[in-house]
Symmetry: C2
């Protein structure tokens, strides 16, 4: 690692002039006095700040113009930077109990000081202890379940997470927080919504768009928000809690089957499709925007099974129907189309669709518009597709329809049952 990793322009100049570098323990005199370790920077957009890791575990950015004096205390090795946060927290009697399961992802990641890339290395316990405010709201037990980037979280991991949560269906926890990478968080939240329908306590997925040990991480606020939500909202269901937008004042709590990551990097990347978030979590208040129950059944019936022989097929002009033939020949049992507009695919596909239908493959239609409802009776072409056996999946989000089809396929005996459950509103995946 360069001694000045990520610093450039004015801030690089500042470090050199003051003979300090990344990893140095320093004392800084600015508006107040700060003690901490100079951290590497990953984002190259700004040369006006240096990043300091405080003893509390937080990183802060300090404007170099406002620094009056900087003084080196000692040189810290990278390994020490990593372990120093790892201490157990005291429990406080009388506070609600929450279980925090970590699976990896940005929220549990650190910068790899060698490569500058972010790797999933923080355990749930570390995560917990790195956000001291949590201990004032709830007593949190932390458990590391997985250590995976979210793009590597597979359907078998969904089963593992659901099985673990299911162990606590009769516990004294007020709720369960899952820390996961954001990339596929909405796929996981969908699976948990179906597999654990009716679960007696809230399940909240929480992530971060910036890693926990970098300046301006949103991890702490999202974790605190999820904790507040569990202790104060008095509700059941599976939700995703993330920043509502770029500012830190409010978090959004999304219904786990109506949400999508709609931006690659913004804090407010997650959005409820076609509606407001179910809850808005502000400093001292939780605003509720939904009137309906998340689960459409009241009784808890875990059905933790799935069948991955379902493909999501995004249609586009020039899509070669032979690709669909391959899917049929590979033994898939379900196909979720991400069609165009109200739910269409080109007439070049009809022959292959017919073949799929004759083989008894479940065929569901969603829209690549993402928002809005499938309506296949408006155009003649839509009617043709209905005749070919395609089932319009209302306003189910394509990714959610895929997960629901995998889950349903693992839990039913025949095609009729499959169709029935796919169109049944289990966990608010359909909305009016």
């Amino acid at each position: 690692m360069s001694e000045y990793r990520g610093y450039e322009g004015d801030s690089l100049e500042f470090l050199k002039t003051n003979q300090v570098s990344v990893g140095d323990s320093v004392k800084i005199l600015a508006d107040i006095t700060y003690s901490g370790i100079i951290m590497p920077r990953y984002e190259h957009s700004d040369d006006k700040h240096i990043v300091l890791k405080l003893r509390s575990g937080y990183n802060i950015g300090l404007e170099i113009e406002k620094i009056e004096k900087i003084e080196k205390i000692e040189k810290i090795k990278s390994a020490e930077i990593i372990v120093q946060q790892d201490e157990k927290l005291e429990k406080v009697a009388g506070l609600p109990k929450i279980l925090l399961l970590s699976t990896g992802g940005t929220i549990a990641s650190k910068i790899n000081y060698r490569t500058g890339a972010v790797t999933p290395v923080l355990t749930a316990e570390e995560l917990n202890s790195s956000v001291p405010e949590l201990a004032k709201i709830a007593n949190i037990d932390a458990e590391a379940l997985l250590l995976e980037y979210s793009e590597n979280i597979m359907p078998e991991h969904w089963l593992q997470i659901a099985e673990k949560i299911n162990e606590y269906s009769k516990s004294d926890y007020s709720g369960i927080i899952i820390a996961q990478g954001t990339d596929t968080m909405h796929y996981t939240s969908s699976f948990l919504s179906f597999a654990l329908a009716g679960f007696p306590i809230p399940i909240v997925l929480v992530g971060s768009q910036r890693s926990s040990d970098r300046a301006s991480s949103d991890a702490a606020l999202n974790l605190i928000g999820a904790t507040k939500f569990i202790t104060k909202s008095n509700t059941k269901g599976v939700y995703i809690v993330m920043h509502q937008d770029e500012n830190d004042d409010t978090l959004a709590c999304h219904v786990g089957t109506r949400v999508r990551k709609n931006h690659t990097s913004k804090r407010g990347a997650f959005q409820t499709i076609g509606d407001n978030p179910a809850f808005i979590i502000a400093e001292n208040q939780i605003q509720k925007n939904i009137s309906e129950n998340f689960f459409k059944i009241n009784e808890f019936q875990p059905r933790i099974k799935l069948d991955t022989r379902v493909a999501l097929v995004k249609y586009y002009p020039g899509y070669n129907p032979k690709l669909l033939d391959q899917i049929i020949e590979m033994g898939y049992k379900g196909i979720i189309f991400e069609g165009t507009g109200l739910g269409h695919i080109g007439n070049t596909m009809y022959e292959s669709v017919k073949k799929a239908n004759e083989k008894g493959i479940f065929l569901g239609m969603t829209s690549q518009c993402i928002d809005g409802r499938i309506r296949m009776t408006v155009y003649e072409s839509g009617r043709d597709l209905l005749d070919l056996g395609i089932i319009p999946l209302e306003n189910m989000i394509p990714e959610v329809a895929l997960v629901k089809a995998m889950w349903t396929m693992g839990n039913v005996q025949n095609g009729e049952e499959m169709k029935k459950i796919m169109l049944e509103n289990i966990a608010s995946e359909l909305s009016s």
Copy 2:
């Protein structure tokens, strides 16, 4: 067809009471006197209105409560309803000339009175003559090029449309309007942007979310807006003009490579991704929101070729890498991944990606988040994918990246040239 097709509740009662039905020519006394034909209704959401086709060709909805008297004149056959608008318009000397090419779609559709579904049957001439305001703004020559629903518009149609437009590169037209179905309009606009880079006059795609002969169609306003835009904006480029939102006061003009259909049915379904629309078209004013030129080259160089051996692969948890192997074996020359987040796919895909790279297949990365920029250096997994030869395609929209890859593949000699052009900003497909 039922005599009361689409009517229910109060409005059905009203028709029955007054002994009139769909297809009847009637005179109605309300705030003023209306003469026209009672039209079938397709949408079942409202039982307070009846729909009347006026002699002008327009449909209007009349509130039954405000109707004082309704009187039957005669019964019209469906065939007559269809042909009555087909009359040529007079040209006015001195007005700018515009070419209107129709390709089918909702904007050129009529309800099929037998089935209630919408079919593409209006020609460009009919479309033109059904919106009398157009004649006051420009002299419009109309030509029917295709008669296809947009989900059936294929890459070979893009070539056909581009070739036709190219015939007019040295004409005295002020601009060219393409009437197309909305479902795949942004794919078509992308292709025209690349194939006709530098085209000397503006090309505007326009569509409608409701068919032209139904009450509350947005076709007329979108057509008028496109015409105004061409005559007044003094710009080059390929754009999509559609309603900005549900109200009729403003239309949005989107850069043809930065736009997407984001709702299945709303009038304001089209949105510029990550930015404001390039222009806002109001009654008497066109507001410009962009400062840059649409085409990044000034000279017109038509390159009307493509190669459809490019696949768009949307990654999801559980995506079977064997599906990717099939694409490789089928002889595809390019794969555009719609990865997760900043541009990731699961590590289960690595072996297949390696194989694709070794075969010299172009591998591009976009994000299923749709909005935001690909950044594959942030996480170790992204770096692994870079090592496997995947090219991050900045903030190109997945559908646009697919079209650009097909187009580039048809115009280059080798892989190096392919990579170079894919990352070159040709027609504002990349934005900062």
